[in-house]
């Protein structure tokens, strides 16, 4: 099911500067759900403007890892440092990090009782204390970038899945985050809508956003990722640039995974 989406783009050029600062650092992170050990010594560094794609079989801990980065889940061991701020129980740190990190979910999670525009202006107004007028202008700018400015007055329930996911991206961007996290943003979409969302994400990548994307869209990984991460059973098994990752997988686990997902 990968490869079905043709992005119609050549490789997006890497935007990482040679002296780029690390934006996200995970050091030997461990997490348990009860007795279940779901992250095992996960270490990963994402540099400024870097685009990292995470893949792996179901239940391997991809969502958990990415959700630890903005503390939707708490880890029990190891260190997570985002934009120079260490994630601890300190609520101020958590708020500070969440302001800088945008997240897009598999199930969109738009607020159904608010219009598209209100969905986008809510956080800038309440969290960034932006005047309403300014927030609306900003929201319209991003809605235009995701190509749905004409839907601003509608409610999420009136939009297609692809449109909703693009609104979710715009909503996150309205906070002007430094980092964007995507957790399987296209898995809940009908095939014909996947491309419109991926196109928006490719554009975002071209603009130099630091991105961590959990996805099974290997076409996207090939064209956009600086590095691809393979996770299995809570471990980071292999990390590498897409060329090596797909062309020359070192571990058996990754080879098996790729053969399954690419259908060889």
């Amino acid at each position: 099911m990968a490869e079905v989406v043709e992005l119609g783009k050549v490789q997006v050029r890497s935007a990482v500067q040679p002296d780029a600062q690390p934006m996200i650092e995970l050091r030997k992170v461990n997490k348990w759900f009860g007795a279940l050990h779901v992250l095992r010594d996960v270490s990963l560094t994402v540099r400024e403007r870097e685009r990292v794609v995470v893949c792996g079989p179901s239940g391997s801990g991809k969502s958990t890892m990415i959700r630890c980065i903005n503390r939707l889940e708490t880890h029990q061991e190891g260190e997570i440092i985002v934009d120079g701020i260490k994630l601890t129980d300190d609520l101020r740190n958590i708020d500070a990090i969440r302001r800088e990190v945008g997240m897009v979910f598999q199930s969109f999670n738009l607020f159904p009782h608010l219009t598209i525009l209100e969905n986008c202006t809510l956080a800038p107004i309440w969290v960034r204390k932006m005047p309403k007028k300014e927030a609306e202008e900003l929201a319209m700018e991003f809605l235009t970038r995701v190509r749905i400015p004409e839907q601003a007055k509608k409610y999420p329930g009136q939009l297609s899945g692809g449109q909703q996911q693009r609104v979710a991206i715009a909503r996150a961007l309205c906070m002007r985050p430094k980092i964007m996290l995507f957790d399987e943003p296209t898995s809940a979409l009908d095939p014909e809508m996947i491309k419109e969302v991926l196109d928006v994400m490719v554009e975002l990548a071209e603009s130099g956003m630091t991105m961590v994307v959990v996805t099974h869209e290997m076409g996207f990984a090939r064209t956009v990722a600086d590095r691809v991460v393979f996770m299995d059973r809570g471990e980071v098994v292999e990390v590498g640039p897409p060329k090596d990752f797909f062309g020359n997988p070192r571990s058996d686990r990754l080879r098996t995974f790729l053969s399954q997902i690419l259908g060889h």
Binding site: N70, L72, D95, R98, R99, V101, G102, M103, F105, S107, N109, L110, F111, P112, H113, L122, A123, W126, V127, K154, Y155, G157, Q158, R171, A172, M175
Partner: protein, 382 residues
């Protein structure tokens, strides 16, 4: 799947022309035939029920209108109700209402001052109407309520602006019912939201336990026993010389009681909100109260409207239980109005009168909640 054949494709497009719906299937006659007279059994049931309905309606109209006594000679102690007694069973004695409506509506409030509770009722109704309109749902509404309630206090108690003072023991009738219900809902509803939120606070076990204990304790006892406790036991715990009046104590009992029930209703609504809504709000950096007030509660309360209004209506009527601790609410004044020997035995008329008043308020609430639901749904569904 096999591809559709060319033949099927042509057939398909030909039959895609809209045909008019056959006319025998629509219209009132068709509806009657389909729903009431579809078989001999259904026809028999329809006819039997129609007979019962018509004969009951006719005898009620006979009793309530045709044979009713609207007026009797005399008034007060000298009233002569023999005409009513003669018509007992055949005609209603509406003369009772003409004679006693001021007592039923305002209780023992001084007769010449009864314009004051009457005005209060009007203010209450105006408050309800204003609060019901969505275009007044702004911060100023709280101010309007504050002013209106102060005016109501001044009117009822008096003692200022040249209004003679009226002690609280003399208040009665519809005003008492409206006071208990309005303050009851106005305080119990916010209380219930806090309790429902507190009950879900897994990270604060003490808060959670307190909320659970409150809900279970209050729900486990009848309102009557709470009212008794409020009127008899509560004063025992107060320091010597301090005295909170009976109405206030009953009011507090009602608030606590309704709060527990409403909290469970609100909790039900909260439970229906998907986890993703919380996560999206968290990921955007909203604080707990922003998330709760802007994202979770608007959705949770909207889906809770039917059970909420159900509880409001129940509460409105349950205020009538205060009669057992000697407060003269609408039901109690109706009951008392037929105590005089001359009027004894005409309880049905008095109860019908107050039932109609209760019905108007409860039906209005019910109707409004349905409209509100529809209004809030507008444009949000596919």
């Amino acid at each position: 799947m096999t591809p559709p054949s060319a033949e099927a494709a042509t057939l398909g497009s030909a039959s895609a022309i809209d045909r008019r719906r056959p006319s025998f299937a629509i219209g009132p006659i068709a509806w009657l035939r389909a729903n009431l007279f579809s078989s001999w059994l259904s026809t028999a049931v329809t006819l039997a029920l129609a007979y019962v309905l018509v004969s009951w309606t006719l005898s009620f109209v006979n009793w309530a209108v045709v044979n009713a006594i609207w007026d009797v000679p005399g008034t007060g102690q000298q009233v002569d109700t023999s005409a009513c007694r003669a018509a007992r069973g055949e005609g209603a004695c509406w003369a009772l209402i003409g004679e006693k409506y001021r007592f039923i509506l305002f209780g023992l409030y001084p007769f010449d001052e009864q314009w004051r509770p009457a005005l209060v009722v009007v203010i209450f109704v105006a408050l309800y109407v204003i609060s019901a309109m969505r275009r007044f749902w702004r911060k100023e509404l709280a101010l309007i309520w504050l002013v209106a309630l102060s005016v109501i206090g001044v009117l009822m108690w008096g003692g200022v602006f040249g209004l003679p003072a009226v002690e609280q023991e003399r208040w009665g009738g519809l005003v008492i019912t409206l006071i208990l219900a309005t303050f009851g809902i106005a305080f119990a509803f916010p209380l219930s939201i806090l309790v429902a939120l507190g009950r879900r606070q897994t990270s604060m076990p003490a808060v959670k336990a307190l909320c659970v204990v409150y809900i279970e304790l209050i729900r486990g006892v009848p309102l009557i026993s709470l009212l008794f406790m409020a009127s008899v036991m509560f004063p025992l715990f107060l320091p010597e010389g301090m005295n909170i009046d009976k109405l206030l104590r009953a009011q507090i009992a009602i608030i606590l009681f309704a709060g527990a029930y409403l909290a469970e209703v609100v909790r039900g609504g909260l439970q229906a909100i998907p986890k993703g809504q919380y996560e999206a709000a968290d990921a955007l950096g909203l604080t707990y109260w922003q998330k709760t007030g802007l994202i979770i509660l608007p959705q949770a309360l909207k889906i809770s409207i039917p059970p909420l209004v159900n509880t409001f209506i129940g509460m409105f009527k349950d205020t009538s239980l205060v009669l057992i601790i000697g407060i003269f609410d609408l039901l109690n004044t109706a009951k008392t109005s037929v105590i005089e020997p001359a009027w004894q035995g005409f309880g049905v008329e008095a109860y019908l009168f107050v039932a109609a008043i209760y019905f108007v308020f409860c039906f209005a609430m019910s109707k409004y909640s349905q409209d509100l639901e529809r209004e809030l749904d507008k444009g949000r569904k596919r």
